[in-house]
């Protein structure tokens, strides 16, 4: 089954770039992404720029409303997604627990829709 892991964190949480903690976390990211690839479970993964760079579009009554910022202002910002292909939810949760940001942010595990599962 295919799942998307939606990775979130508070921008001020987690290790700061340039510190040994940051390097240690980067190594962990490298490990888990490498293991995902090695297990044949990786479908796609991309990191996103900050929410400060986001623009949201809504069309209402044929009029486009373009606004600054993400869909919803939340404490945690959405910074990356990974699509994985694994046996079941327990396997997906196992990978989610290994995401370094799970210790200070969160990882939402969402199955792709049923139409996406067979492709």
């Amino acid at each position: 089954m295919k799942y998307m892991l939606l990775l979130r964190h508070s921008p001020d949480a987690g290790p700061v770039e340039g510190t040994p903690e940051f390097d240690a976390e980067m190594a962990k990211w490298g490990d888990v992404m490498g293991d995902l690839g090695g297990a044949g479970a990786m479908v796609a993964a991309h990191g996103l720029d900050t929410e400060a760079t986001a623009t949201t579009v809504r069309v209402r009554d044929d009029e486009a409303l373009v606004t600054d910022g993400p869909f919803a202002e939340t404490k945690e910002s959405f910074f990356s997604y990974i699509i994985i292909d694994v046996a079941d939810l327990d396997a997906a949760l196992g990978w989610a627990k290994r995401m370094p940001n799970a210790t200070y942010g969160s990882v939402e595990v969402r199955p792709l829709s049923i139409h996406e599962q067979d492709s």
Partner: protein, 258 residues
Amino acid sequence: MAAAHLAIERAYREEWTSLLATLAGQVGGDIGLAEEAVAEAFVAAASDWPTAGVPARPGGWLTTVARRRAIDALRRGRTRIANQAAVEHLEALIRDNNDMSTGDRGHSASGVADDRLRLIFTCCHPALALDARVALTLRAVAGLEVAEIAHAFLTTETTMYQRLVRAKRKVKAAGIPYRVPADDELPERLHGVLHVLHLVYTEGHMATTGDDLVRSDLCDEAIRLARLVAQLVPDAAEAHGPGVPAPDRRTATGPHRR
């Protein structure tokens, strides 16, 4: 006829969990589909047995009817290609059961025990909301009617029905596996199961101070299910422990304790 009704009641009490647990495993862990098929088999029994007589092997009769209903549901399903394998498997099981006398479910006793455990762990999966875990456990594992569960938790039948539909849909759509957790997850997941049973017990226990007799059934169900878990996971000291409803320790720690 009274005899037929007694036989149906007895079969419901003794066979519901095993029928549902085994069938769910044969349809890829789709608890919702299995539950409907087993419920329909009992409806069929209620209309057939009083006139045609109680079959020699009630469990076998119910198993076959439930499998046929499951095949019908799988054929109606949206993912027909994926369902084809399950349909063929069930059809083969029906054929084999008619040819051989391999027991009611063509299944060893330990196989049935495994199925019941898989059902309990799936209903109590932490990916489901706590109230959904409680409702699903009472419906699928304990076989309580939706109206009974709604009454016990002081909500409407519609609300409870919808809660169950959402829970069963999530089990299927989110890919919650139909299995007993691996050894390293087992203690934590077992704790989760006992937490659900404890909630059921507490809910019933608080009600027994009132005049609502139906809710005392919850205590009985919690005890029955805790015994079942203790019996199926003999090493689960926690299931025999003081925090768990087991007033009759002689039965709770009976023949399964070695």
